[in-house]
Every structure is written in C-alpha cells, then in structure tokens.
Symmetry: C2
C-alpha cells in the first residue's frame, strides 16, 4: 500500500515535468481501493489539485474472524520466500465471488472480462497481511485544502454507501458527495455514464479554474 502511494507521488513528479502537462492542474482519479489510495496520496502530495474517489473501498481489514488465518498464511509466505520458495498465492475470490478477506466482489471478474481486461484470480498471502493492517482514515482530515469529490453508487455491494459516507464526513472542506442513484459498484460503468462523469467534470472545472 505504502509503495503504491510512493509510486503515485513519483508519477506526479514525472507528469509535472512533462511538457504537455500544466503542473498546477494535476488531478487524481481512483476507483474502489484506488479511491482509498488516491485519498491517502493527496494527504501528502500538495501538487495534487483535486481528487476524484469513485466507490472508494475505505476499509480492507475484512472479516475479523479471518484475520488470524490470513496472518498465519502471510507469515508462512514470507518465510517460504526467504527459503527460496515461490510466493504463496490465495484466490482473489472464491467460487461465490468472495475474497479471502470475506468481502463480496460481486461480478468483478465478468465485468473485467466484459471490458477485455482479464484478471488473474490470485493474490499473495503476504498482500492479504497488508490488507488486514491497512488504515488511512486518520489521513482524511489532512487532505484539505485539496478539493475532493467522492462518487458513491447508491447500491454499492462491495463497500456500502453508508460507510463511504462515514469516510466522506471525515474530510474537511472543500468537498462534494455525489450519489449515483440506482447504481452499484460495477454497473455505473455501463450505459448512461453522463451523470456520473459530468458531475466530476463540473467539480474539476470549478476547483481547478479550467
């Protein structure tokens, strides 16, 4: 997670030196867990002019009853790699579409296949240890004065709208919460997307003087 944030900061360094980019007008956009990561990045990187967090998964700790088993597998994964073994993989989702953390990912795989972006169904056990320990909620009040728009599908089945709202409430101004009525974590990406994207564009235009 932390390396991911480092990488995004370094990519902003790269973009801000690119001749086609106005370094004063770099916004970041993240979906699901990357909504979380973009918020965490913006708390440190003041070059970011605005954040769009769509259906952000603010909590990856998962089912507390699975924590101990995941930690044990993760430690075995680390020890195995030190001994020269291959990484230990767990499925991203089981046959019911549920992650090892106990989070339902719904139609994630069929969606990605539909987008011609097939994903391998595996994650290292060590990665799951990162998930169960990850928490960036303390950074939310520190993002201000960078403007944030959170876009929440009303029927988000992966990370509930009510919990996205809790995270939104921890942000300071300027901020905006846009609810996608009748949509879930995936289906807002198909059909009429104008409502979803026009709200985001209006927000960026307003706050970035576009």
């Amino acid at each position: 997670m932390h390396r991911r944030i480092d990488d995004f900061m370094d990519s902003i360094t790269w973009f801000s030196q690119h001749p086609l980019v106005d370094p004063e007008k770099i916004a970041v956009w993240g979906l699901c867990f990357d909504g979380n990561i973009m918020l965490a990045t913006a708390a440190s990187d003041r070059r970011i002019a605005a954040v769009v967090a769509v259906a952000p998964m603010m909590d990856t700790t998962g089912d507390p009853e699975r924590r101990e088993a995941l930690l044990e597998l993760a430690l075995a994964d680390r020890a195995g790699r030190i001994a020269g073994e291959e990484p230990m993989y767990l499925p991203l989702v089981d046959e019911d579409g549920v992650t090892a953390l106990g989070q339902p990912l719904g139609n994630f795989f069929s969606t990605m296949e539909g987008l011609n972006m097939p994903v391998e169904n595996r994650v290292t056990a060590n990665t799951y240890m990162r998930c169960v320990n990850w928490n960036m909620l303390h950074l939310l009040p520190k993002i201000s004065p960078t403007p944030v728009i959170m876009v929440t599908p009303e029927h988000d089945q992966v990370f509930p709208a009510s919990r996205q709202k809790e995270a939104f409430d921890m942000l300071l101004e300027p901020k905006e919460h846009c609810i996608l009525l009748g949509r879930n974590h995936f289906d807002w990406m198909f059909g009429d997307m104008d409502v979803a994207f026009n709200k985001q564009l209006d927000f960026l235009k307003k706050h970035m003087q576009l």
Copy 2:
C-alpha cells in the same frame, strides 16, 4: 516504518530456526519509537510470545504546524533522488534538542555519546514524511492475546506518560503497565536499573512459563 516491521518479522523467522532458540519463547523488546514498532509487529506476528515496550513513542506526527513544510521538503527529496541527486537530509535535532517534527529529544545525543554509541545528526526529508503519516493505534487492540508490558518513565519528556497511558488503555488483556517513578526518558538507563528490569523479567516469566 512498514519495512522495519517486515524486517523484524523476517528476523523472527531467522531466530525461530536457530538451534539455540526455542521458537515458542521469543519476546520482543523496544525502546521509544521501537516500542511502537514492536507493538505493531506483534499485532501481525503471532510467533511473538510477549512484548516489552519501554517509553514507547506512540505518535510521530509532531507539531501540525510543521506538517506542510516537511511534506514539501520530502517531495523535493524524492524528486531530487529520481533526478540522480543525493538524499536531502534534515537535522535529527536542532541546537535546542528539538526534532524537525517539533518533538524535544532532550539529552539524546549526550546520552548516546555517554553510551559510546554516537549518532549522526541527520534524517532524510523523506523519512519525516513517513513520520507525519504514521499511525498504528488501530492495531493496539489486535495484539491480544499476546501479553504486553509497557514501561513508562513517570517524567518522560519525549513522549508524555499520560499519552503512553492512553495507548496502554487501547490494549486488551493480558497487559501490565509499569511506571518508573521519578525517572525520565533517558535517566532510567543509568544507576539502579533493577526495579525496571525485574518487573519486566517477572512479567516474561509469568507469561512465557520460564
């Protein structure tokens, strides 16, 4: 911070395979910021049989008024290194013995010199970004059932006893809080140390069946 925790977990893997070590009886001991790191490590590594956290510095976010300046320097440090420059260093403490975070380190340098362990007075700007974002308080309730003893110098001038107590209260059982009366962050390491160490030994004997 996270790499430090990873390294400690891997060192426990190494120790637990060593012929002189009983892998069921590995305790970890940490002073000041390493008290914090040992607590964070124990929340994931269930091979740890007990934790001793002495004068733990539970919060490294420092003075909020210094946050923005430190982030700016840290981002410049990262960008510079990508461009092939040397790391940017800030002093660990200024002439008043205060870190760039605004935390007083008191007689840290004279203490380390007295112990014949001289320390260079420099920290990279990027490291300070790790400090201002670090928070592991959410892991404290997850350390149980691993037993923890926290040892707090009554007059700790680096991280106040009252705030150590707040962290102690977030731990679940089994736990013990040992106050070193009349002592500060450094001076408990000199003169009569029997009280401090006998309490720790008694705790380890009790919980590790020594």
